[in-house]
């Protein structure tokens, strides 16, 4: 009886909102966006290393070579910056002091991952691009552990 009356009052007079607040768009963080960008960096780096130089004197082949080289480099540069941006958003917006207690090397992990993004831009290094993927995989593990979810690592390529 009382509960029925309360239910009607609730319907007639909606309560004011009070926020169990989070500044970020809660729950929409995901390290997979960094992973996709890091994969693209690794892929472009491998393609650059494997690109065959054209025979000397073949102008058309030289033009095609330089065009392809430039495109691969531009994509590598762009995707490394995207990976860096995505990692920095996770680091500064998602992770909180409580996570640092759980993972004391959190700051070092992100700092090194961001440095690897820079290295991948400056160099054409399969080693550093591979290390970037490993760093993103480590962050994937940390991230989903803090969410108490078992999300297995996978790659698109």
């Amino acid at each position: 009886m009382l509960n029925q009356a309360i239910a009607k009052l609730q319907a007639w007079f909606p309560a004011e909102a009070v926020h169990a607040h989070c500044d970020g768009p809660c729950g929409v963080y995901d390290p997979s966006s960094a992973r996709v960008a890091a994969e693209a960096v690794l892929s472009m780096t491998k393609k650059l290393v494997d690109l065959e130089t054209p025979a000397s004197g073949d102008k058309a082949a030289a033009v095609a070579y330089h065009n392809t080289f430039a495109r691969y480099t531009a994509i590598k540069e762009e995707q490394a910056q995207i990976a860096k941006d995505e990692l920095l958003v996770l680091w500064t917006d998602y992770f909180k002091p409580v996570h640092l207690e759980q993972f004391p090397d959190l700051h070092d992990t992100f700092w090194k991952a961001a440095k690897l993004c820079s290295a991948c831009k400056v160099e054409v290094s399969v080693q550093h691009a591979t290390e970037l993927m490993e760093a993103v995989q480590k962050i994937h593990g940390i991230f989903w552990t803090t969410k108490n979810r078992d999300v297995s690592w996978y790659t698109a390529s």
Partner: protein
């Protein structure tokens, strides 16, 4: 400074007839929770009754659930639990620490921002 409460409140009782009467007499205010920072205790959509007069004669105690205005976003009301209090105000935190923006980021909440103490669910 009061000694901090290391444990957040484990439960919140349902309202009794007295609470409903006090609400009808405008001695309690009713709020609906939006957001996930008070999980697992308070799910989004849960309604609570607060006592706006609870802290007229005494300060909030560590472990209290309170409603307070955000110190940096005027008009935004928050529901959090009190970890400790000192001369400058209350250190508030969400129960779901991973998905809560609270005093860990915006610092202690001044006394004038505290709206009242959460007394029970509604109903």
């Amino acid at each position: 400074m009061t000694s901090p409460s290391l444990q957040p409140p484990p439960q919140l009782r349902h309202s009794q007839l007295t609470d409903v009467v006090l609400w009808l007499l405008r001695q309690r205010r009713r709020f609906r929770i939006v957001g996930a920072s008070m999980l697992p205790l308070l799910e989004p959509g849960t309604e609570v009754l607060i006592d706006p007069f609870a802290y007229r004669r005494q300060r909030p105690q560590p472990g209290d659930l309170v409603v307070a205005y955000h110190p940096r976003q005027p008009g935004l009301r928050l529901i959090k639990w009190v970890v400790y209090v000192d001369e400058d105000g209350c250190f508030l935190q969400g129960l779901n620490a991973a998905e809560s923006t609270d005093s860990r980021e915006f610092g202690r909440v001044p006394w004038v921002n505290i709206v009242g103490r959460v007394g029970c669910r509604f109903p």
